[in-house]
């Protein structure tokens, strides 16, 4: 690898470190995939491919970090490859996590309404100006999140013009009543529309199951909570919750940080600190016994399943071993779940696992969709793989391959300025050490087979997992019953029972 690779990122150091050679192992040696029957089609490794045994280690360019006088944290990553600029503004404390009861959807609606009118611009004017400038601007917040975000991007040629609009909608929204009514109508229509998708139904039930009383249990507003959205409520939320000292502004692209920071001071001069109460709800805790939920979706030809339980928060010391464990089990197209259920059994187009680690603990979760007829067999394989990673230490080669995969992947993030910025943003938001991403590959490489088994045992307890299946209840209820008492819901989200055929 030539060091001249980084003509753009002069801050980068590219070095080759000796990686873990995985060549030379026994040909055709497979990862342990025990199976009672002989699979019709077996994953096989021939180890003939020319692979560089080294991991291309990259040092990520670091954005310039600044704090404006009003307390707004700013991260600027210069990247002059194209005349593009990407802006993301995260406003902590303004997310759905803090919503008062009965007005679910307030945080997202407030954010969405920002672009529907300001003191000097109508909704249509904002839309036309943004589009004329070739820019994009959106705002929103997801359920369970402590923050809302504004996302904008455009050309550097006219950055001042479109960024002024971003600032205007942030600081001077007028929340016009007629536009609010229109937004509520659109959101109401979505309430119904989203119920047609199996993925929505599985998320709704799974989050209910794992989060319990925690606000992250909610994934959608209701008709009643939308009724409660008023101009006054949105204005109050904006006034009280959009505080600069809790916000983080990330900018990546064709800008000059040195010139931009003084400008930002001017742009945001009118944004004043205020006191925001940010008491987070009590953390969710992992369920202690297995529960099974069936969402009856008539006419389904597949069963969409999710299973898992609350695991860790982002700052947990188990985060790094969890990354490795999850990668081995279900982190992609070389994960055990994918290779077993798809490549060998042909049950599915894809099954994966992931985990959500935020300021509070979130779930580890595995899932996918498979044809109704193989639901029972697929569930057996899911639990088999979970038990396998708990009961047996990961073979050395598989462990080294996984760690290497995670470490080597860093190079790809250097293509996209937003990817690098995103890593820096998460470092700041979760108050991770300054050198967190620089030392991340080394931390990954230090994970042992015992670490992997330990976190699998700790967080992947099959006896305590929440299991959700969305599909044709007439055909799959009996398949689910061996896993525990089955609670049945209809696709409207209401407790029900399966009609007898």
């Amino acid at each position: 690898m030539r060091s001249k690779a980084f003509v753009r990122h002069s801050a980068c150091i590219v070095a080759l470190v000796s990686g873990v050679a995985f060549l030379g192992q026994n040909a055709s040696r497979l990862y342990a995939q025990e199976s009672i029957e002989t699979p019709p089609s077996k994953v096989e490794r021939k180890n003939q491919a020319p692979v560089s045994g080294e991991v291309l280690r990259v040092k990520l360019p670091k954005p310039i970090e600044a704090k404006l006088q009003n307390g707004l944290t700013v991260l600027i990553l210069e990247d002059h490859r194209t005349p593009s600029v990407f802006v993301q503004l995260h406003i902590g404390g303004a997310g759905a996590l803090y919503e008062p009861p009965g007005i679910t959807g307030l945080a997202n609606a407030t954010a969405q309404m920002l672009r529907e009118g300001t003191k000097t611009r109508t909704s249509v004017q904002i839309a036309e100006e943004i589009d004329r400038l070739g820019a994009s601007l959106g705002a929103g917040g997801s359920f369970g999140s402590s923050q809302v975000a504004l996302d904008a991007s455009g050309l550097s040629d006219n950055f001042d013009s479109w960024f002024a609009l971003v600032v205007d909608v942030l600081l001077n929204p007028s929340f016009p009543r007629d536009e609010l009514e229109k937004l509520k109508q659109r959101l109401r229509a979505q309430l119904r529309q989203q119920r047609s998708a199996a993925n929505f139904l599985v998320n709704e039930r799974f989050n209910r199951a794992v989060y319990g009383d925690h606000p992250a249990a909610i994934v959608s507003p209701t008709s009643e909570s939308l009724d409660a959205l008023t101009q006054e409520a949105l204005m109050k939320w904006h006034r009280e919750r959009y505080a600069p000292q809790n916000a983080l502004l990330g900018i990546a692209g064709d800008v000059r940080a040195k010139e931009l920071i003084p400008q930002l001071e001017k742009w945001f001069a009118g944004w004043q600190r205020n006191d925001v109460e940010r008491t987070r709800p009590a953390n969710p805790v992992a369920a202690t016994s297995r529960k099974v939920y069936l969402v009856h979706r008539p006419n389904s030809v597949q069963t969409t399943v999710a299973l898992g339980n609350i695991a860790i928060d982002r700052r947990s010391p188990d985060y790094i071993p969890m990354v490795v464990m999850n990668h081995i089990l279900g982190g992609g197209v070389s994960g055990r779940l994918f290779l077993n259920l798809r490549e060998e059994k042909g049950y599915t187009y894809g099954v994966y696992s992931d985990f959500s680690a935020r300021r509070y603990p979130g779930p580890w979760r595995a899932g996918g969709s498979m044809r109704t007829e193989v639901t029972a067999a697929a569930l057996v394989e899911f639990f088999k793989e979970i038990n396998h990673i708990r009961d047996q230490t990961v073979p050395p080669t598989e462990l080294e391959d996984s760690k290497r995969a995670i470490a080597a992947r860093f190079a790809l993030s250097l293509e996209q300025p937003t990817a690098i910025l995103g890593l820096a943003v998460s470092r700041v938001q979760f108050r991770l050490p300054e050198d967190y991403w620089d030392t991340y590959p080394a931390k990954i490489m230090a994970v042992t087979a015992e670490d992997v088994q330990r976190v699998a045992r700790k967080y992947l307890d099959p006896e305590a997992m929440q299991l959700v299946a969305v599909g044709d209840g007439l055909k799959i209820q009996s398949v689910l019953e061996p896993y525990g008492p089955v609670e049945v819901y209809d696709s409207g989200g209401k407790l029900t029972s399966i009609p007898k055929p």
Binding site: V333, R404, G492
Partner: protein, 471 residues
């Protein structure tokens, strides 16, 4: 990822042809769409410098160095898609795409993904009506790996009954997940089946369950020999490598793969449509009716196609667009609305797709769309609308330049479709030729009733005593 045929017009030109792929989730269709006229104030050039080679066996090679990140992407695009399938074998081109991950002489079944992932890369394959492509993005020090993997399967694919059966099941699951178990999952097929008469474009890429069941090992062996030859493919490489090193590796692994007779070119011509066609389908999952209105238009990369592409953006590109402002915001009759052309080498379709608000009079909604079309036919669009489209294209083009994969895939697209890799740089000029008069003219020429197909997707009434819905 199987893209839903028409959703929001988030990317200009992209996504109107259904694309199915080996794994869900990672496909970015690389619709390179540029437009640059008044906007060209910046001195920065968007041009992608490249060199073109042809090996003795006919394999075309495009190399574009870019050292701005320590990565590269390789893409092999084969000139074969669902339009090359014969009746009784719909879905075969895509099923065959899956077979390319089932092992070859020196690569085991499933090992392709393992090798790519273990070395920090990502990979996928996609199929549409026109072509099939395979691509990998890897750290720059794994240059040889990507070249080797693509060559090994072009040279000596391992086709077995067990692997074919396994992937047939996977593809059938893909069909269920992406079409049969989804709202509006059957709409796309209903539209092309009605709009087209010629089999080549009349059937879907994913194909029917029945035809997938009929595919045999012999079909696969024949298909591989006929279409997966070096002289029927283009290899594009973009990123952090030295051209001479890359070229010698490509020669080392590819040059000895023998050429094959040139495959037949499918007949994609359509008889002239003389009257409107209409169809109504029922959808067990949909909660709201959807209206799909399509018009026959010329092939991609023609002046009129570019004009129609700009027209699509005027209608549905961004929140200020005509359809969004009128149907979604103002009259509140639609949940979503998009418009734009799909891109084929033969007769293409200009596609309106509008999800109605439940309870709305569909005939009235349809009439509103026709009013907008008449407005385009009778009045020139405003200056700001045209300059808006120019700016949006310029931004998209700039943002797409970061990805080596987007560029590698674009080269494959332009060479296989139009035999013109230079299009990656000249597309901008083609768009800049479009005038307001052109827009009016193409609206009059193509968006007319006799060339129209209308498919209405209606929510299927719930059967009695089934699980009650909440409203």
């Amino acid at each position: 990822m199987p893209e839903q045929p028409v959703k929001t017009a988030k990317s200009f030109v992209a996504g109107l042809i259904v694309l199915v792929s080996i794994v869900a989730g990672t496909v970015l269709e690389s619709a390179e769409s540029d437009y640059d006229r008044t906007a060209a104030k910046s001195t920065k050039s968007f041009d992608v410098p490249f060199k073109e080679f042809r090996l003795n066996n006919g394999l075309r090679v495009i190399l574009a160095e870019d050292h701005s990140a320590p990565t590269y992407s390789i893409c092999v695009t084969y000139n074969v898609g669902s339009r090359d399938e014969r009746p009784g074998r719909t879905g075969f081109a895509h099923l065959f795409e899956h077979m390319l991950f089932q092992g070859s002489e020196n690569v085991g079944k499933g090992e392709h993904f393992i090798l790519i992932q273990n070395n920090g890369g990502s990979a996928n394959g996609t199929t549409n009506a026109e072509r099939t492509n395979y691509f990998e993005t890897l750290p720059a020090n794994q240059l040889e790996l990507g070249i080797f993997l693509e060559a090994d399967r072009m040279r000596a694919l391992n086709i077995t009954q067990a692997n074919l059966d396994n992937q047939r099941q996977t593809v059938q699951e893909e069909r269920r997940q992406s079409f049969d178990n989804r709202p509006y999952g059957r709409t796309y097929e209903a539209v092309i089946e009605t709009a087209y008469v010629n089999f080549a474009y009349q059937h879907s890429v994913i194909g029917s369950m029945e035809d997938l069941n009929s595919a045999t090992v012999q079909d696969a062996v024949d298909f591989f020999r006929i279409y997966y030859a070096p002289n029927n493919a283009v290899l594009s490489l973009v990123g952090d490598f030295q051209m001479n090193v890359a070229l010698s590796l490509i020669k080392k692994y590819f040059e000895s793969i023998p050429a094959q007779p040139v495959p037949p070119t499918p007949d994609v011509t359509e008889p002239e449509q003389k009257t409107e066609r209409r169809k109504v389908i029922e959808d067990a999952f949909a909660q709201a009716p959807r209206l799909d209105i399509v018009y026959k238009i010329p092939p991609g990369n023609t002046p009129d196609w570019y004009a129609l592409s700009v027209l699509g953006q005027v209608l549905s590109g961004g929140v200020s667009s005509r359809l969004y402002q009128k149907l979604i915001k103002d009259k509140e009759v639609a949940l979503s609305a998009s418009a734009g052309p799909d891109e084929r080498r033969g007769p293409s379709l200009f596609w309106f797709s509008i999800t109605a608000r439940p309870g709305i009079d569909l005939a009235a909604l349809e009439k509103l769309v026709y009013e907008d079309i008449e407005r385009l036919q009778n009045q020139e669009i405003a200056d700001w609308e045209l300059s808006k489209v120019q700016m949006q294209l310029r931004r998209q083009r700039a943002q797409q330049r970061y990805s080596t994969r987007a560029r590698a895939n674009a080269f494959g697209h332009y060479v296989v479709y139009y035999n013109d890799p230079q299009l990656i740089n000249s597309l901008q000029h083609k768009y800049s030729q479009v005038t307001k008069g052109d827009l009016q003219r193409v609206a009059r020429t193509y968006l007319k009733e006799s060339q129209r197909t209308v498919v209405t997707t209606m929510p299927k009434p719930a059967t009695a005593k089934a699980a009650p819905e909440d409203r």
